[in-house]
Amino acid sequence: MTRYLLRRIVETLAVLLLLSACVYAVFYVLPGDPARLICGKICLPDQLTAIHQKLGLDQPLWEQYLHFLQGLVAGRDYSSGPSVNHCPAPCLGYSFQTDQPVTGLLLDRLPVSLSLTLGAAVLWLVIGVGTGLVSGLRPGSLADRALTAVALAGTATPVFVLGLVLLLVFCVYLAWLPFPGYVPLTEDPVAWAQNLLLPWLTLALTTAVVYSRLTRTTLLEILAEDHIRTLRAYGVPERRIIGRHALRGTLTPIITLFGLHVGTVLGSTVLTESLFGLPGLGKLLIDAVNTIDVPVVVGATLLSGFAIVVGNTLADLLYHFADPRVHLT
């Protein structure tokens, strides 16, 4: 187990290092000059040069990347004008556009993304697995067909449309909920949940179908397997067959998918975030890409990448507990 975890950690670090190098390389090749965007509508050549120097963009790419790695290990110093700001290790650098330390920006946005993703994840798991089980236990029934149709409609509707419709219905016509904004959990848990309800629903409804379909098919497959037939032949009560044996087997692929999914969704809910005015990681990343804010792009990508790797590792661990035949090596 310890060896397994150690190996995973080393692998994770290697993946993240590669990821950061790739992002640097991509932005170096892409056209556009972040200094130009910082400089204002009319920009004199000397000002542009000064900004290049300030951002370190006058150095060759490999040197910029080396400084980045140095910052990760030892921290970096930045001139604020009258004084020098120290960015302690692990320093992901300063944003080109907002002059804020990237670590601060990420930590600022992380609670928003976590709130959105984890809440939605619980919902889509409950909705997806729930409907999947109902469908799978009574294949071909009216409930199965109705749920399948609803689930498909949910996925087929783009986040933007579903979100706007929910907003119109619940905030405009029924006026049951306020227009969402982000309220930190620590400030007011009730307002937090109230404000996040619609974003959660939007995200969950567009995602749940995958779980619903997966649960249904896996359950049907397992129910048709030999060991279930044997149990039935022994006269084991159906409730027990399903609860003890079939469900457990159904869970394994769902865990794998869920681990991957949560990690991926964490950094990629930009549409939901923009629609509901939630300043999360996705919006940070897309804004940074638009303004060629390389340090923020690198930071946000690393964090998203980290989340995916961690999600995967957790899924593997859970997999092991759900199905002891799986060994962690």
């Binding site: 400089c39 900004i51 009258p82």
Partner: protein
């Protein structure tokens, strides 16, 4: 999903652009309705909410690029002069703010002297001195604090290579003989200096409180409000500054007790919230979200909605830019032919219809303050004159038509693919085959604004930094403003000594009316050379909440002024 995402990414730079520029005209109906019950004496109280799509970046007076002091910044930063806060054409006038007058020129408008009013204080109660204004300007030169307009660097004596107070100490061309007097020494005559002095760079900054890049976290207010909390990209909460009063500021009314700005909202949601006006949203307004297609469609049939829309008219022009250094655009006949061939109606339809744009035949926006003189040198009518265009092409040696390339940005803005396609279709009627070269906004800027790589024909736009002909014409047609290294806006790479001399001569004028007349005449004269094809002047429509009063639009920047609005 993909489409929404594209729109979203396109809106972000657009918002930034709108924030940098200003806007114009006013809504007669909306103004009437909202001013009827408005009384400045009893307007105080309540919370005004601002729902915006753009992020709240850099609330540092050195780094803001504003017109007339900006919308939200003007609540925090008083400047030497400011825009006149009255509805109607008088709103384009410069009036004193911290200073006692708009400035006294001497030495052919190469020296400008200002005196400060009595009793001016920062939010912490310390008196505002001329040294604080000098320091505020100096720090805008620091490479750590970029973003402001470059006029000061160009205009002030010995400022071209000045690196800001952190590195280079004081700037010698700004003198402060006493606490109340500040003198600016300029390199050349600049009659429009009072307009420039409305920019936030002219706001006082106390040296002792300067924290460089961190200053924006809590800039020291000289205006009616101060920062209570600032959460970048989410919320800005402003509360009353007790050291400000109407006795020392005759421009801002500062009606609400509190102003809460929420940023980063989806434009469709902002409009929905303002139109619905439920709860606190009735006390809300936006400074950067235009009406969407849904609201535009409802406008005609919904008087309730129409009463809460401010019609604004930004002093800007979208145009086709020729680079006469590239064949066949070196031939004026070809440029004229294209001027005749354009169909302004389809172009305007492409940007949302006649509610959002007016056809343009002049380069200057169609407002008197810019010096607008109507002219139409190549009368093409609303839908173009392909026959005349063909005739001119034949004269130029292209009797069988020709093939050209039109470079445009892929941003879903007024200069994007929609307009490009409309131009392509119109020119086809005249026998001109147009190949489109779409570029993402960054590549577009890099290619078009660098003289060496500039294509022969591109779609561009220009907006003024203050309501006058100078910031509209000089960057585009002054031959000395061709910037070889990039960031060039003189796209015709036009260097005519006669025009340059006339620009210098007008800059010596300190009477805006006299200057306006000559800017208009200059525009008319340059227009004959067909260096651009003006396409349209854009208009904006902005919603405000049901309880919001006194939401008239300034002709200066075309936006309603938060400093005079009320929610009571």
């Amino acid at each position: 999903m993909r489409t929404s995402h594209k729109v979203l990414t396109a809106l972000v730079p657009l918002a930034a652009l709108l924030a940098a520029c200003g806007h114009n005209t006013q809504d007669a109906q909306g103004a009437k309705n909202s001013t009827a019950a408005f009384d400045p004496a009893t307007c105080q109280g309540g919370t005004l909410r601002v729902l915006n799509q753009g992020d709240l970046t850099h609330y540092d007076p050195a780094r803001l690029y504003t017109s007339g002091g900006g919308k939200i910044p003007t609540l925090l930063f008083r400047t030497l002069t400011t825009r006149n806060r009255v509805p109607g054409p008088d709103s384009t006038k410069v009036v004193p703010d911290l200073a006692t007058d708009v400035g006294t020129p001497s030495d052919d408008a190469k020296t400008w002297t200002y005196h400060l009013k009595d009793g001016l204080k920062f939010e912490d109660g310390t008196p505002i001195t001329s040294a604080d204004i000098k320091y505020g300007i100096e720090r805008s030169f620091a490479p750590e604090l970029p973003g402001g307009a470059p006029y000061l660097r160009d205009w002030l004596k010995d400022a071209q290579n000045y690196g800001g107070p952190y590195k280079d100490g004081e700037l010698s061309s700004i003198e402060t003989p006493d606490d109340k007097t500040i003198i600016f020494k300029l390199r050349k005559p600049e009659g429009e200096f009072p307009y420039l002095a409305t920019a936030t760079q002219f706001a006082p900054v106390p040296k002792a409180k300067d924290t460089g890049v961190d200053y924006e976290k809590h800039p020291i207010s000289s205006g009616p409000y101060k920062v209570e909390s600032f959460d970048q990209s989410k919320h800005l909460v402003l509360v009353r500054n007790d050291n400000w009063s109407r006795q020392i500021d005759d421009q801002r009314l500062a009606c609400p007790d509190r102003i809460e700005v929420t940023a980063g909202l989806d434009p469709a949601v902002v409009n929905q919230r303002l139109a619905t006006g439920a709860g606190d949203d009735a006390n809300a307004a936006t400074t950067d979200v235009n009406l969407g297609p849904a609201e535009l469609a409802r406008l005609g049939s919904d008087p309730q909605l129409a009463a809460h829309v401010a019609h604004t008219h930004f002093g800007d022009t979208t145009y086709l830019a020729f680079n006469p250094k590239v064949k066949p655009f070196d031939d004026i006949k070809v440029r004229e032919a294209i001027s005749y061939a354009v169909n302004r109606q389809t172009v305007i339809n492409a940007v949302g219809g006649s509610q959002l744009a007016d056809p343009a035949t002049t380069f200057l926006p169609d407002q008197a303050v810019f010096g607008y003189q109507p002219y139409d040198h190549f009368p093409a009518g609303p839908t173009g004159d392909p026959a005349k265009a063909k005739e001119l092409l034949a004269q130029a040696g292209y009797p069988n038509g020709l093939t050209i390339t039109l470079t445009h940005s892929t941003a879903q803005s007024g200069h994007g693919p929609g307009v490009a396609t409309a131009i392509q279709d119109a020119l086809k009627q005249a026998g001109i085959t147009v190949n489109l070269e779409p570029l993402d906004p960054d590549s577009f800027d890099a290619k078009v604004n660098t003289p060496a790589t500039e294509p022969g024909l591109s779609i561009d736009g220009w907006g003024a930094d203050w309501p006058s002909g100078n910031p509209f014409l000089a960057p585009i047609f002054d031959g000395r403003q061709i910037i070889k290294s990039g960031g060039n806006f003189n796209l015709a790479q036009y260097d005519n000594p006669e025009v340059n001399d006339e620009i210098d001569a007008i800059n010596k004028l300190t009477d805006p009316a006299a200057a306006a007349k000559r800017w208009g005449a200059l525009d008319e004269k340059i227009g004959k050379e067909a260096l651009t094809v003006p396409l349209y002047h854009s208009k904006d429509l902005l919603l405000f909440g049901k309880n919001v009063k006194n939401a008239w639009v300034s002709d200066w920047n075309g936006l309603y002024d938060l400093s005079v609005m009320s929610v009571k």
